[in-house]
């Protein structure tokens, strides 16, 4: 039954037929036994009645005993008195029933096969002075039983055949949703991931299967969408510097220029190369991170020192914009993480805060332990805030809450994606609390020591 070549439908039908065959066999056997028992009981009663009649006639009208065969149809009996044969019917002698009497005393009903063929049911009553033995031919009963057995034996294969056919049909009916689901699923391609399998009854087994499959499709659809968006965004980001390089170069070649101008042109093209390089480096970092080939080290890191260090590195940027950059570092907040990756993440977060906070604004960096004792770093700014609609996607690659503000501020749209990766790679999570025009608060929560 485990044969991989059989379809589920055929296997179901075979199981079905097997079970049904077993039931038919057991049932037929039971019928046969029951009918046999009741037929023989009837025979025994008949022989018993004959014995009673003979007994009565022997006691009351002994002379009539010879007429019993012709008048009452009791054709097979024998009467012995004091061990001597008193009377026996003609048929008795002919059938050779004398030989059946191996037990001369009263005997229970039993079957005896005559040497010439037929079976007889034999019964006796005994008295110290006399004995009556009567018999009746079993042939009709045995014929009936044989016919019944033959009928059952002929019917069983028929029933089994019917069971196979019925089982196959029923299995087909039951499994038809699977076929439909398979057909539908086959039609779903990368281009039509929005389609779903039909769910007739979400509570039955196939409904649950279809629901699970649909959930998987939804997730697949989602990640395909993100990939498509990412590809579009990435090619846009890659095309922008390429376009700039091409047009700057082409324009420069239109007419002879003096060396200073050429220097300008080449410099401008090199700036675009720089931008491309940064973009490719960042993408490579994220791609490697996603494929899991970047393995972060695990060591105890003092968050206050790290936050101080990052803030000092970026302080010049805040100073240029007359922003106040405050670090409130609680001492002895330790986290287990990769310091280089975390530094990269925090650097991107803080850079993001400086970039979007207007001149003269304030940025706060705090290290602390959360209410449940986890080490965390907060970066709070007084920037424009992030509208709720954008908050869920702000960490996606190339995602910009404000499409108008883009490459002119120098970034390539990967800073927050890198920040989130840096935190997640360290087993932490990054949270965002933001309200429009009230600034944003990014919180890194890391695993404790």
């Amino acid at each position: 039954m485990r044969s991989p070549r059989l379809s589920v439908r055929a296997r179901l039908a075979l199981w079905h037929a097997g079970v049904l065959t077993l039931i038919v066999c057991v049932f037929s056997g039971a019928i046969l036994l029951f009918v046999r028992a009741s037929l023989f009981e009837g025979l025994d009663r008949q022989v018993g009645r004959a014995l009673t009649t003979i007994d009565w006639v022997y006691h009351h009208e002994p002379d009539e005993i010879g007429d019993l065969a012709s008048e009452s149809g009791i054709a097979l009996f024998r009467l012995t008195v004091e061990g001597k044969l008193q009377y026996q019917t003609e048929g008795w002698e002919r059938a050779g029933l004398a030989r059946a009497l191996w037990n001369p005393d009263a005997m229970p009903p039993s079957s005896w096969a005559a040497p010439n063929g037929p079976w007889y049911r034999v019964q006796a009553i005994s008295d110290p002075s006399y004995q009556i033995v009567a018999a009746i031919e079993e042939t009709p009963v045995r014929d009936t039983l044989r016919t019944l057995a033959a009928m059952l034996a002929m019917g069983a294969p028929f029933a089994v055949g019917l069971a196979i056919a019925g089982g196959y049909f029923l299995a087909g009916r039951v499994l038809s949703p699977v076929g439909m689901m398979a057909d539908k699923a086959r039609e779903i391609t990368a281009e039509s991931l929005g389609e779903r399998l039909p769910v007739e009854n979400p509570r039955d087994e196939f409904g649950r299967l279809a629901t699970v499959f649909n959930d998987t499709l939804a997730r697949l659809h989602d990640s395909f969408d993100r990939l498509r968006r990412f590809t579009a965004d990435a090619s846009h980001e890659l095309r922008t510097p390429l376009t700039a390089m091409r047009s700057v170069g082409e324009v420069a070649l239109q007419a002879p220029l003096d060396p200073g101008k050429y220097r300008e042109v080449i410099g401008s093209m090199l700036e675009e190369v720089d931008r491309l390089t940064r973009l490719v480096d960042s993408l490579l970092l994220l791609t490697r991170a996603e494929s899991g080939s970047a393995r972060p080290v695990r060591e105890v890191v003092e968050l206050a020192a790290l936050a101080d260090n990052v803030a000092e590195q970026l302080r010049v940027l805040a100073e240029e914009k007359q922003q106040s950059l405050n670090v409130q570092a609680a001492v002895h907040v330790d986290a287990v993480c990769d310091p280089d990756i975390l530094r990269l993440g925090l650097m991107n977060l803080l850079h993001n805060a400086i970039k979007y906070t207007p001149n003269g604004g304030a940025i706060h960096v705090r290290t602390m332990t959360t209410s449940i004792g986890l080490p965390s770093i907060e970066v709070q700014d007084t920037g424009p805030g992030i509208p709720a609609a954008h908050q869920a996607r702000i960490f996606e690659r190339f995602y910009r809450a404000d499409p108008g503000r883009g490459s002119d501020s120098g970034g390539v749209g990967l800073g927050l994606a890198i920040a989130r990766w840096a935190v997640v790679a360290n087993g932490g999570r990054i949270e965002l609390e933001s309200e429009e025009s009230k600034g944003s608060l990014f919180r890194i929560v890391l695993p404790g020591t």
Partner: protein, 227 residues
């Protein structure tokens, strides 16, 4: 100083050859691993510039074979794959330094100079360019006898520029030597630019003759503009 460039990409090898020759190095080019290995083991060079992704015989293989033949010429590895494994394999195989493509030329020059200089101690405690003087021991900077107040990073940048005076210093080099960051994070470029602006404000703005120059798209240099 003779340099062997083993690089299959024609444009890159041509640019390397011309750029290095402009710096008065004698340059030979091999276009694949086999030819490179033969030249490097037959002739004597002061430095080998080795690309890791080569047709025929790959760079790591060439490097291992050279070291197996007891060729001790310093080998500078160039790799397009920014993979840590590559770097580790390269350095284990006996490379002396490496750069990830795309690299900037000033960065490459600076590293080559460092590699060729290696072993020779640089006892300089005082640096000078025209009227700009730097005392590394006392951490003092003066221009035209006027003392200048520099922050730590500004001081280190100036030191780096003075050590490479007359040559272009790329942002990569500054990131590595001053901020000690290998991979460039985007924010750091902005930090370098801002710090450079502030340094310029201090050492150039009050004076007529400008010493610190920006080469657009490449980096910075201190001294007379090289024509």
């Amino acid at each position: 100083m003779r340099i062997l460039v083993i690089e299959d990409e024609k444009k890159v090898s041509k640019a390397l050859k011309e750029g290095l020759e402009a710096e008065r190095y004698e340059v030979r080019v091999a276009a694949d691993g086999e030819a490179g290995f033969l030249q490097a083991s037959r002739d004597s060079f002061d430095l080998v510039l080795l690309d890791l992704m080569l047709p025929g015989r790959d760079g790591i293989d060439v490097l291992t074979a050279l070291r197996g033949r007891k060729v001790t010429t310093p080998v500078f590895v160039l790799t397009a794959r920014d993979a840590v494994e590559d770097r580790v394999r390269g350095l284990d195989g006996g490379a002396d330094d490496y750069l990830v493509k795309p690299f900037t030329f000033p960065e490459l020059l600076a590293r080559i100079r460092a590699l060729l200089r290696r072993g020779r101690l640089d006892p300089t405690r005082k640096l000078q360019h025209e009227d700009l003087r730097m005392d590394l021991g006392a951490r003092k900077v003066t221009r035209r006898e006027q003392s200048l107040e520099l922050t730590g990073k500004e001081f280190e940048i100036l030191e780096c520029l003075l050590r490479h005076r007359g040559r272009i210093v790329s942002r990569e080099l500054l990131a590595r030597e001053v901020w000690h960051v290998g991979a460039r994070a985007t924010p750091l470029d902005n930090v370098i630019d801002v710090t450079m602006v502030r340094l310029r404000r201090k050492i150039d703005d009050p004076f007529e003759k400008k010493l610190l120059h920006t080469v657009r798209g490449v980096g910075f240099f201190l001294g007379a503009r090289p024509e």
